[in-house]
Symmetry: C2
Subunit: 122 residues, 2 copies
DNA sequence: CCTTAACTCAACTATATGGTTAGGTTTCAA
DNA sequence: TTGAAACCTAACCATATAGTTGAGTTAAGG
């Protein structure tokens, strides 16, 4: 049985629950290191607003920030996501089960169509 | 490129960000259908508090409720979790990459130890 | 040296969240 | 038919969240 850090999961899922923050992470997924102002640029909101989001991401351990001169570089840290996926994985059987059931139903239909000439259409 | 329902992800991640709600889901993972009062029983909080959590889970589509007589049965619906995992999967390379790097490093160490007799211990 | 870019901080606002208590309604069952 | 179980609703409270504006601070660069 896997043990989860409840408080860490709280922060991770909470951080991921905002579209702005997910967009910030998506940006850092495609570009290794991005400055605060570069990250803020695409958004309609003010710079301090974006910085608050970065604080949340940082508290959740999803990004790291390193200052060089007057610019701050942000990088992704996906480790907390791994734990989040680990938690979700427990429920995976519910949809794979559903897919198995669907597959089984299709198989059933296929077999029942083969003998005769395709009578029982829905 | 996979397209995500942003508002749905908001609700899903937000619903998962609370330990009480995750515990409720965990309960429904091991028991197919559970009544509201049964679900509430293990928690120190009041029944209306638990019911608010159930509302959140229901709004996120993570549970369904069916009333029979005076008792309400709750069931898990994992579908929104599948989408959440889909979103997270995009970042999976960051930790598999890290594991690959670790594996590579261990391989490196193993090979460098083989020739001589195990000198460079950390 | 002075200006400007890049960021930080503080104060304020509105709304959301997570909890409470008190008082319903509906249904079952003695 | 009356009482209690099971659930719902409403009103309230404290704190957190997501944004704003305005005023710093620090570091390049002409």
């Amino acid at each position: 049985m896997v043990r989860f850090q409840e408080a860490q999961l709280d922060r991770t899922f909470s951080a991921l629950s905002d579209p702005t923050r997910r967009a910030l992470l998506a940006r850092l997924e495609e570009q290794d290191a991005v400055s605060v102002s570069e990250l803020a640029q695409p958004f309609a909101m003010s710079l301090p607003a974006v910085m608050k989001h970065l604080d949340v991401l940082s508290d959740a351990g999803l990004i790291t920030r390193t200052k060089t001169g007057r610019t701050v570089s942000c990088r992704l840290n996906a480790d907390p996501m791994e734990e989040a996926m680990g938690w979700l994985a427990r429920y995976q059987r519910f949809w794979t089960q559903r897919l198995d059931a669907l597959e089984g139903m299709l198989e059933e239909r296929r077999r029942s169509r083969e003998p005769d000439g395709g009578a029982g259409n829905v």
